[in-house]
Subunit: 343 residues, 2 copies
DNA sequence: TTGAAAGCGCTAACAA
DNA sequence: TTGTTAGCGCTTTCAA
């Protein structure tokens, strides 16, 4: 069976305490003992039983990430990159990453509770915030360390990283308006998502500065997927007067919208401009390439993890409330780079 | 602090043994005791300490998934869907999912070793097999339960699910050849990946049946990303005589290849056919939509997890070596649905 | 039907 | 510098 500290103790003729301390690197152990113990440990192929270690230390060295998924299946390039960012940063500090998926709702909070009370994690990374976010309320109340990607309504007394969605969409609106687009539509995420709120506001304000009104009738709510973006765009394009630009609130929906426009025989970037938000790898390789706002997902994930790790360690994170400025990536789907603007 | 079994014992006046058994549902506990204990447990908000439970039971109720990533960052829709499949199926049986990312190599096996010896997981799901797969060798030798997505060279004495890559690419080759394509190129994954081998073989054989030779000079090896597919296609299309069809071995590379063709002013499906493999959601919404081979990733992941769970439980899985037949999804990138074939 | 006691593998006060 | 001892929170013989 597995090698334990006790085996090393027997083999070296020392006590398990001494072995434990030698392995942990305490300096109240004779150097030669330390060497001996370590050598035997290697010989025997010893690996500490983390379960036992954690039970004793009352820490789990694990961080939790519960992905809010709408359907049972999901395929979001955003999350895979985010995951890598969290996982790699965590691993660098010897932390494990416990991942699960759970649709928003009652069960979701139970999943958090369960992991907290079952002492499976030391803290959480929370993603895709809702305006009223029960996860944040719960974690705050329970005193569990956590760091959040996104903000929420109410008091911002928790550590977070967020992109400046208002600014981002203002930049986009400005760009679109300068190109001459006047009849602008929007494919927005469900209103309960915090970033829906912010991005929509940014778009509205940005257009307003150019005297352009974002009409309510030109807003379609969709579920962040290509399929959803496709349906939303179809609905927009089935109207008598179609928009001359569609600003989608994420890339996946924008890509779906492009597909819808093309299925109707429209040339994207010429008959209709379409823009996204996120700059996923696909944005660069779509046809035409997608004008969008870049977010450094991997870095955001790593930063959040670093914050969380600091909090778990009882330290104050160097930075605990970060708002990043997304930058505009102009490609061809808005018609600017290749063709002259549509008046 | 956290509520323990001891608190319940004190509150009910019973011993911790009795409480433990009442909670576990043993039937050598008086019904009224059972009721009382459970009621108090709920009142106090008791949740078992999984660490303690697991240490005692010598099981972790956790399965491990180490994603082989090439760069530090990765964004693969394939993995996010796979992850959801594993996570959901695992959760349904009360299992946790421990995820990490690790580029193939020395460190990778250490990561496996570490999790096994540290008793962090009861078994692994292994993805994206290599022809000589050190992970499989290790797990087999160590006697750790595991289930694999993909096959490997050598003895297939382990449980796996795989798609029939040979058949898949034969179908594709057949389709392409029937459409009249004769100068077919291929964007292949690194040769050490098992599926590269199989898919390439399928393409070669399928074309051969129509008397078409897949020339070595028409094969480009790439890294499974859009960017890689883009570069590979650029190289293919920079030749004096360009291929009339490019079969990429996955969708991401196919999408990158489409982008490359389009950047050179070629019309995909007309000037050049491009096909993929996987049928990721994006395949349906690209422009033109991508002809590809469908794989039910989510179901594969769930099936694999089920197998693994059975093995961990000491049972024999109902099915332990599954080879699925991918089916051809004909869209427009090969020029068949919309335009007449190119002679 | 219940409880005392041992122990899962480890750490850490405390004493020697 | 080392060892004894007492847990971390739980399950499970074994005896009552």
């Amino acid at each position: 069976m597995a090698v334990t500290i006790r085996d090393i103790a027997e083999r070296t003729g020392k006590s398990i305490t001494t072995v434990s301390r030698a392995l942990a690197g305490y300096d109240d152990v004779a150097p030669e003992t330390k060497v001996l113990v370590r050598q035997v440990a290697v010989e025997l192929g010893y690996e500490p039983n983390l379960l036992a270690q954690r039970l004793q230390k009352q820490r789990t060295d694990t961080i939790g990430l519960i992905l809010p998924t709408f359907g049972p299946r999901f395929s979001d390039p955003f999350f895979s990159e985010f995951l890598a960012g969290v996982g790699n940063r965590a691993a660098r500090s010897g932390f494990d990453l416990l991942v699960s998926t759970q649709p928003p709702g009652e069960e979701e909070i139970n999943a958090y509770r369960h992991k907290v009370q079952g002492r499976q994690v030391d803290g959480f990374i929370v993603v895709r915030t809702r305006r009223q976010d029960a996860r944040i309320d719960y974690l705050r109340r329970a005193g569990v360390p956590f760091a959040v990607f996104g903000r929420a309504d109410g008091t911002l007394d928790f550590p977070f990283v967020d992109e400046d969605g208002v600014l981002g969409m203002r930049l986009m609106a400005d760009h679109l308006a300068r190109l001459g687009y006047r009849r602008v539509a929007c494919i927005a995420p469900p209103a309960e998502l915090m970033f829906a709120q912010l991005r929509l506001q940014g778009l509205r304000e940005g257009l307003a500065e150019h005297g352009v009104l974002l009409e309510e009738s030109q807003i379609r709510v969709s579920d962040l997927t290509q399929r959803g973006g496709y349906a939303a765009a179809q609905s927009l394009l089935a109207e008598a007067r179609i928009p001359d630009a569609i600003a989608a609130c994420n890339d996946l929906m924008a890509l779906g919208a492009m597909s819808a426009a093309q299925s109707r025989g429209l040339v994207v970037g010429q008959d209709v401009a379409i823009t996204g938000f996120d700059d996923i790898p696909m944005a660069e390789h779509s046809h035409p390439p997608l004008t969008t706002l870049h977010q450094p997902i991997y870095e955001i994930a790593a930063t959040l993890t670093e914050m969380l790790l600091a909090i778990i360690a009882g330290k104050t994170p160097e930075q605990s409330q970060v708002i990043l400025k997304p930058h505009l990536v102009i490609r061809r789907s808005c018609g600017s780079a290749a063709q002259p603007a549509q008046p």
